[in-house]
């Protein structure tokens, strides 16, 4: 009797010590568009995420971060499905999700059904996500599509002298937001947007869209991404297109600029705006580019990180730094972590980022121009750096609210 109880005590003490030695893990679910039109964007996003882990490490105090990845295809239902699976099946406590605009709106709404968990937006950039009825546990460390277009309209009007433009964009929230930012500024400066064409995400045959481009405009703005952008450029080349181009943030990006084939050469000289510029001299940016390049062999990455890599890097960085501030304390429905996330200011590679009251990033924007580096590789060159861009784009919040939410026809082309 005594012997057996002694044995039990010995056994239980062994077990106890065992748990004390085993490291406690914090499970983080990550989603990226690893399928469909935006596959390349998702893959590079994950490279940015991995770069952040290489630079910062996975340790938070005495805890270790464990990342579980789920794939989506840029549709809102695929994002919600992936997030659900991560929460219900893999029991993650924190989410780093999602990548694309419509996904962002869906995940934000879903976040409200899990107020105890923390959602850090990975890269999505629709305005509505944080502007309309934001979720208290959803944090976005990248700017939205409209913020990413700040500076482009004025540059096109004043420096390039474009007076009339037309737009072609994918028919979903992120591109609505990008065109919103562009139209607001370009029309505010006095320009005209004569025609806005919308194509479904995943369009393969752009021939008719290209034929319908007006020819009485100074430039054509392209709000496309991933496979759609490459398809468009390929068919644009075949149709012998020669117009001046302007680009959205995921159009003028390494995901497109380093695609195979010669169709991308149509983009040389194209002006664009984005949350980053490939050739920025800033030491923080250069360090990040170096870290990205060192993390992967040359044929498994782009020459320089894409906007998605930068966003995933920034959001992963914010999450890890905030977790370290609270020493990995997730008690009381992660209240401390949420507090730290809301207050944290990060030195992201693409400039300082802090959050506003809606937990939306205020950051730096870049106007760029595509250049050939002489060896056939294309890069976006900095033309102008604009710090402190907020979600209302410098407008008075009351005036901004009157403009309406980005959609196919909003905003109207006028001065607000």
């Amino acid at each position: 009797m005594l012997k057996s109880s002694l044995g039990l005590i010995a056994l239980s003490s062994l077990l106890l010590s065992g748990t004390a030695f085993a490291q406690e893990k914090i499970k983080v679910g990550v989603t990226a568009t690893l399928e469909g039109t935006y596959t390349v964007l998702g893959e590079d996003g994950m490279r940015g995420h991995q770069t952040a882990l290489n630079v910062l490490g996975k340790k938070v105090g005495d805890k270790e971060l464990e990342f579980i990845v789920a794939s989506t295809d840029a549709t809102p239902d695929s994002a919600v499905r992936a997030v659900r699976k991560l929460i219900e099946q893999d029991k993650v406590q924190i989410l780093l999700s999602p990548l694309s605009g419509d996904e962002g709106i869906a995940v934000k709404n879903f976040a409200k059904t899990h107020p105890e968990l923390t959602f850090v937006n990975a890269a999505s950039g629709a305005q509505e996500t944080t502007y309309v009825d934001p979720a208290p546990n959803f944090f976005r460390y990248n700017m939205d599509g409209a913020q990413w277009q700040v500076g482009l309209g004025k540059y096109a009007y004043e420096t390039k002298g474009y007076r009339k433009i037309a737009t072609v964009g994918e028919d979903y929230s992120f591109i609505y937001t990008q065109v919103f930012g562009l139209v607001l500024e370009f029309c505010g400066a006095g320009g005209q947007v004569t025609n806005r064409q919308w194509v479904p995400l995943g369009t393969k045959d752009f021939a008719s869209v290209i034929a319908a481009l007006p020819d009485d405009v100074d430039a054509i703005y392209l709000g496309l991404g991933g496979a759609d952008a490459v398809n468009f450029l390929n068919q644009y080349q075949q149709a012998g297109g020669k117009a001046h181009l302007m680009g959205g943030s995921i159009m003028i990006d390494q995901t497109i600029l380093s695609s195979k084939g010669s169709a991308k050469n149509a983009l040389i000289g194209t002006i664009a705006a984005s949350g980053q510029a490939d050739t920025w001299e800033d030491p923080g940016w250069q360090k990040f580019v170096k870290a990205y390049q060192d993390s992967f062999p040359e044929n498994k990455r782009f020459p320089s990180p894409s906007l998605l890599a930068t966003n995933y890097y920034g959001s992963t960085m914010a999450l890890i730094l905030a977790l370290r501030q609270v020493n990995g304390d997730l008690s009381n429905n992660q209240a401390k972590l949420k507090d730290a996330l809301a207050k944290i200011e990060i030195d992201a590679p693409n400039g300082k980022i802090k959050l506003d009251a809606n937990r939306q990033a205020i950051g730096t924007n870049f106007v760029t121009e595509v250049v050939d580096d002489g060896k056939g590789a294309l890069f976006s060159k900095v033309v102008k750096v604009i710090p402190n861009v907020n979600q209302t784009l410098g407008y008075d919040p009351a005036v901004f609210a009157k403009i309406g939410l980005p959609s196919r026809t909003v905003p109207e082309c006028k001065k607000y």
């Binding site: 045959d205 496979a227 195979k260």
Partner: protein, 336 residues
């Protein structure tokens, strides 16, 4: 033709008027009122030509599908995977050798071989069991999709168009007359015209082979009654393997074509399976002219839809399918 007019004088009249209107739309200079109402003629002509050339691509995929179904009653839902595989093979060959033409040949042979294996290893074991074939081929298409994702990744590939095919050509179709009296002709991508011409040639060759040769006679006899045909001493299994190889090879060629003027990526397999299903349902199962007609209708509907009713463009194709299923469930050009 004459018999059709005798039997359906009203329909014939409607068809003739429609053709006349279309011909006028294509060849005449549009009056300003019409341009104001439905946009420029250049856009319309481009959409029509794009629809027809896209139809050429759909025809290449669907003709193989319909051939296999027509002769063997094999429901091959892995047809889209054959398309995508052909595209990837074509891409690999064209980047490796730099030859666009060679990529077609290799893709045809490689995918035809896969077809032979499929027929020998899968379909021969479950002849005449539609449901089993359907389930097995759906399963196979998922396996193939994941294998291709594993090898080629999620990246999108584009088969390089040879330089002599890049750029537009001028077609002898007037789009407008400048104020100076100078005529403006339509510019159109050469590669699409070449691909369309090639698919017409393939279509006609297939029709001739089916209707004018001994092999074609055997195939057609097999469609009607394969037991009697086998009883007359024809090695029906060999014919099956050949037809399957041809159908699969055509899907492979279509993959290279699709990779040239669109792009290849995971998900394309199901897109083209769906497209060929719709084409074959509209045109009539097992009919080559039906596949051609269905392909052009679907291609035109997609392209005209994307220009004139962009929001609902995706629905148009399926509306056509629903209409055909409701009014003529056997398909427009089915034999029975």
């Amino acid at each position: 033709m004459a018999r059709f007019i005798e039997r359906h004088p009203v329909w014939a009249l409607i068809v003739i008027i429609a053709v006349a209107v279309l011909a006028w739309l294509v060849f005449a200079i549009w009056p300003p009122g019409l341009e104001a109402a439905i946009g420029r003629k250049r856009v319309f002509l481009n959409a029509v030509l794009n629809g027809i050339t896209l139809g050429g691509l759909y025809f290449l995929v669907a003709s193989g599908f319909t051939l296999i179904f027509g002769l063997m009653r094999n429901v091959n839902l892995a047809h889209g995977s054959l398309y995508l595989f052909g595209g990837y093979v074509g891409y690999a060959v064209s980047t490796w050798t730099g030859s666009w033409i060679l990529s077609f040949i290799v893709a045809f042979v490689a995918v035809a071989l896969v077809g032979v294996i499929l027929q020998l290893a899968v379909f021969r074991r479950m002849e005449g069991q539609d449901l089993r074939q359907t389930m097995v081929t759906i399963g196979l298409s998922i396996v193939f999709a994941d294998l291709m994702l594993w090898v080629f990744g999620g990246d999108f590939y584009q088969v390089q168009t040879p330089t002599w095919l890049i750029g537009p050509v001028q077609l002898p179709l007037l789009t407008a007359i400048k104020s100076s009296g100078e005529p403006v002709y339509l510019q159109y991508p050469l590669v699409r015209l070449v691909i369309f011409a090639a698919s017409v040639v393939i279509g006609i060759a297939m029709w001739l082979a089916l209707n004018r040769t001994r092999i074609g006679m055997i195939v057609r006899a097999g469609v009607d009654d394969r037991d009697i045909l086998a009883a007359t001493g024809v090695r029906i299994q060999l014919v099956f393997v050949l037809v399957f190889a041809l159908g699969a090879g055509l899907a492979g060629i279509a993959g290279v074509v699709g990779g040239t003027f669109q792009s290849l990526s995971p998900g394309e397999d199901t897109r083209f399976l769906l497209a060929s299903l719709v084409v074959v349902i509209v045109g009539g199962m097992g009919s080559i002219p039906g596949a051609a007609l269905g392909a052009v209708i679907i291609g035109l509907a997609e392209q005209l839809g994307s220009v004139y009713i962009p929001t609902y463009a995706i629905v148009v194709t399926f509306l056509i399918m629903v209409l055909v299923l409701a009014l003529r469930p056997q398909g427009l050009l089915a034999r029975r």
